[in-house]
């Protein structure tokens, strides 16, 4: 019955440019898009008007002028970027030096001065060569901002050409970490015979000591850098899949999942009917082996197992993947408070995820998730094994107070998922603990652009990609909460690194090392002084 849904996605109903903020208002925003350097207009520049969560687009005319008419009163943001099929400028947003970026529009108001000057973008031309200096073709080059740690999204459709060259753009001035990978999905499942083999491995530009070295884009124009890929040994992964009775599975479908730089992808499957699996020529990195048996087009696998792996410097042979019967866990969310939160259907609904204990891999790994439906129910399919639960898209001002699976309280403890568990009851509340205080640098000064994060003290819960956090005010104060009572690691860090936190589990580990441990009880208000970490 869901087979027709991809049509809807193909057609792209989700995006509705031009039908954004409801028209029929009486106000107007207009302005001019220019080149910041020359002051000349940028004809065809694409201009976006956002009244969160909706937005609409228009293009600038021959003089760089644009207009959004018939607007209703409200708060608006305006941003502009390159004309279609141009790559000259960096995207830019309108900012009033006094009033900031938000435009508060009144009835019948015409704002005619919403001008944006676009800065020319920089280009980083990377040439990738192998260890003997020959150009590497079809390699994927990734960038991270050295300042924020965030991945820079460049067009991933392109790889290096036959000369090893790729141009990455549009880039703001700054320092970048540059890495090249040979491409993912290149793992071979082969015969029993073992053949250690060397191949090109993921490599970042490093200095002589092996520390990441950055490439600098100083402004508009092309900066060039060469990256020499390492070659190194590959390894084998092999083992047996056992079914729920402990016997080698004759019908398991085995796949190797590759987790690289926060991205999960690249399946390749193996399995020869004897429960054995073997992958050869596997480069060092993080992987997961998923085994599934039974199931069909409509039904999830009957049994499933998952093993997270890290290949470092040795073959991983004689592994065992234990399968267990899969279970669909149904559940319900209860909002406990004076009033239910207003749930905007256009926003992402509460997400309930469950992950195997001990799965430290980047990316999705063994995580299975379900979304809360408008009637507050949800379902997570394909669960098995010992798991912890985590939540994302928790409405502002609420926290997850308790999680029960049938009779068992599984709020903070892992649970072995079984057939007769009963429903998952999730209670959200507004009345938790609160932590407030000041976050200052070592000399007692206020630092701008800082956030405070509350990581659960239990590292088994760090796989969750959403943690309670709060911005630090201009006075250096923050108010964090509501939180569930418990032990937390508090850390104040530059807000620009928040994105990296979401993309890179190593960033969570790094922050945890700099954090301060606190303990709060439900209903308690705690006051702390934090030192800002760089």
């Amino acid at each position: 019955m869901t087979a027709l849904l991809p049509f809807l996605l193909v057609v792209g109903f989700a995006q509705e440019p031009g039908s954004g903020p409801a028209p029929a208002g009486t106000s107007e925003i207009r302005g001019r898009i220019t080149d910041a350097e020359s002051g000349l207009p940028v004809p065809g520049a694409v201009v976006r008007l956002t009244a969160f969560p909706e937005s609409m687009l228009t293009t600038a005319d021959g003089e760089g002028r644009y207009v959004f008419r018939a607007l209703r009163p409200g708060q608006y943001l305006v941003s502009a970027e390159n004309p279609s099929h141009r790559a000259t400028y960096l995207p830019g947003g309108y900012v009033d030096p006094l009033r900031g970026s938000q435009i508060a529009l009144r009835e019948r108001e015409v704002r005619a001065d919403v001008d944006i000057a676009l800065r020319r973008a920089g280009v980083l031309e990377v040439r990738v060569v192998d260890d003997v200096g020959e150009p590497v073709a079809r390699s994927r080059v990734t960038l991270r901002s050295a300042a924020t740690g965030a991945r820079i999204f460049v067009d991933i459709r392109r790889g290096t050409d036959d000369r090893g060259v790729i141009r990455l753009y549009p880039l703001p001035p700054g320092d970048y970490t540059v890495c090249a990978e040979p491409g993912i999905g290149r793992v071979f499942t082969g015969s029993r015979r073992r053949a250690p083999r060397e191949r090109l491995l993921r490599t970042c530009i490093t200095d002589a000591e092996g520390a990441d070295r950055t490439a600098t884009v100083s402004g508009p124009g092309t900066s060039t850098v060469e990256l020499r890929m390492r070659r190194g040994r590959t390894y084998s992964i092999s083992g047996t899949v056992l079914d729920a009775t402990g016997t080698p599975s004759s019908d398991a479908f085995v796949s190797l999942e590759i987790h690289s730089d926060g991205l999960s992808s690249g399946f390749s499957s193996a399995g020869d009917g004897s429960g054995r699996f073997a992958y050869k020529d596997v480069p060092p990195g993080e992987y997961g082996i998923a085994a599934r048996s039974g199931g069909s087009y409509q039904r999830p696998p009957v049994q499933e197992g998952y093993l997270a792996l890290r290949v470092v410097a040795s073959d991983l042979d004689d592994l065992t993947v234990h399968m267990a019967p899969t279970v669909e866990v149904k559940g319900r969310v209860t909002f406990e408070g004076p009033a239910e939160p207003s749930l905007d259907p256009r926003m992402s609904p509460l997400m309930i995820s469950a992950r195997l204990v001990g799965d430290q891999s980047r990316g999705n790994g063994s995580t299975q998730s379900g979304h809360m439906y408008p009637d507050r129910t949800f379902a997570i399919q394909g669960l098995f094994g010992r798991r912890t639960f985590a939540f994302a898209n928790v409405p502002r001002g609420w926290y997850v107070k308790s999680v029960h699976l049938g009779e068992r309280d599984v709020t903070d403890v892992p649970v072995e998922i079984g057939k007769a568990d009963g429903e998952l009851e999730v209670v959200l509340s507004t009345r938790g603990a609160a932590v407030s205080g000041r976050a200052l640098d070592g000399l007692g000064n206020v630092v701008p652009g800082i956030r405070v994060l509350a990581l659960p003290a239990d590292p088994d819960r760090w796989w969750a990609r959403e943690f309670p956090s709060a911005a630090v005010s201009k006075e250096g104060r923050f108010e964090l909460g509501p939180l569930r009572g418990g032990d937390y690691l508090l850390v104040a860090f530059p807000a620009v690194r928040s994105m990296a936190l979401y993309q890179d589990p190593d960033e969570v580990r790094r922050l945890a090392k700099q954090a301060e441990r606190v303990s709060v009880q439900d209903g308690e208000r705690l006051e702390v002084l934090l030192t800002v970490q760089r």
């Binding site: 019955m1 869901t2 087979a3 027709l4 849904l5 991809p6 049509f7 809807l8 193909v10 057609v11 792209g12 109903f13 509705e16 440019p17 039908s19 694409v46 976006r48 609409m56 687009l57 293009t59 970027e81 390159n82 004309p83 279609s84 099929h85 000259t88 192998d130 003997v132 020959e134 073709a137 079809r138 459709r157 392109r158 790889g159 050409d161 036959d162 141009r167 753009y169 040979p182 491409g183 071979f188 082969g190 015969s191 015979r193 053949a195 191949r199 090109l200 019908d251 050869k280 020529d281 199931g295 069909s296 087009y297 409509q298 039904r299 259907p345 979304h371 439906y373 408008p374 129910t377």
Partner: protein
Amino acid sequence: MPQPEVGRTPTPTLAVGALCLLLQAAVPTSRDVTPSPDLGAISGRVTEQGSGRPIARAAVVLIGGSGERHEIETDPDGRYEFTGLPPGRYAVAASPGELRATHLLQLLGDPEPRASLPARPRPAVTLAPGEVRTGADIALTRALAIEGRVLDENGEPMSGVEIAVLREGLPHPSDGILSDDRGEYRAFGLPPGRYRVCAFADGSGSLGPLPASDSRFVRTCHPSATSETTAADVAVVDMDIASIDIRMQRSGTYSLSGVVVDASGAPATRARVGAVGVGHRGGGDTGVHTDEGRFDIDGLIPGSYMLIASLGGPETPDDRRPPAREHEMAFVPVEIGHADVDGLTITLSKGEKIAGRVRFEGGQRPPFTRRGISVFLGSPRDLPGFGGLPVMTDVEDDLTFVLEGFFQLPRFVGLSGLPDGWVVASVRHGDRDITGQVVEFSANPGSRPIEISVTNRAARPSARILDQGQPSTEHHAVVFPVDPARWRTANLFPEAPISTEGVMPLGTLLPGEYFVAALSPQDRHLLFLEPERLEDLARVADRVTFGEGDRQTLDVRVRKLPRR
């Protein structure tokens, strides 16, 4: 998940650069094997054609008689050696090495380089017991490139434009070539030949689809051609070719408008309507919502479209609960010429539901395969863009099934996951025989069941593929019924292994008359891209009759798909 077999692409061929990704097998070395006087060796040198320069770290692949592959790398002097080889026939291929696109794949003994390594390349070396063959040298041809700029009507460079390189009407297997920030592109890894270079600009910015405008870029081939006939050939001989610029052309755009009424006949409020190009991407995909039943889609270039309207249904793709409003959809083919199309009425209908039963002839149910069998409603091969989304359901243990939630579209009924040797004998819908036929099920009341009869009284012939009188392992046999009424549902690209003697099973076929021919991978790809060429193939194919229980191996000659 089992997939219906119709509409599947031919087995992908391996791009040159991908060679090394797939071929790493154990390298037999002297320490791996017990020394035996029967074991031989093959050695040689890999050099660059013309200059004679040795190529270090080239990837050399040895393919044995049963298809097993071994890969090694050349030493700094370009030398390679495979040892410990049992007597037999071997093919040897060399390519420039991991992630290099400097040279082309070359098979030992082949006159020309290849774009890809065949699944079963022709053996070039016959090794006698204990024979040590030296001098199996391979010269690699330099891979060539075409470069140029993509320009708009004002001569300004355009970035992010997709480039396709075509050779003899077929896209060259190149991965995602896009023009860069300066509007420049470089298509590389090309063998010598005559090419056309075409560009497609989707017109979107990185912010998302832009508002409709009164003109759009259309697919344009070098130098500024919007049709195949006016495109210029680019001859690539022995050097990279530069300055192959493409000046992108625009077309006027038109609108589609009308009303959407729901299944009860009332104007549909907030129905979603989109137009998807059929056989072209020219207009892009546009989605709008109806306002009091009316819709208006702007910015479409001339061409064929499928209008898709949808109301109600699940809110998110993964929502499996009953929706708040029952899902209604409609599919309406529309042709846009050089004018707006107004006054369309789209009538939505509720999802169809048909029950059915599978009957195994003779009453005997063979053991099912592990994943069970599934019934699907397949899309005919000539409805591109819709082929990949069949409606599918499991057949229950009591052999009944219920297909539901599908909408009025031309479809045919198929079974996947049948046990070996069994084939669909007939499909009846009520009292109509719809075996191999394309039907719109909503034209019939959904109450009548589908009866699928499955038989093992079938032919299971094989083809010995002959290329100029010699067995070939590099071509594929294509078999299809003589009756043109069944062509839209024929499975032309089954996955079947080809033996070293060039013998390929033709599958399980109902007794009857068939056309059979063998095609090169290129022609097979062309047939996949252009289903209407089956007509041309029928004119040059052999006509054969298969009877019940036939298991013969017949000689099938390689035919060239007539060029149009």
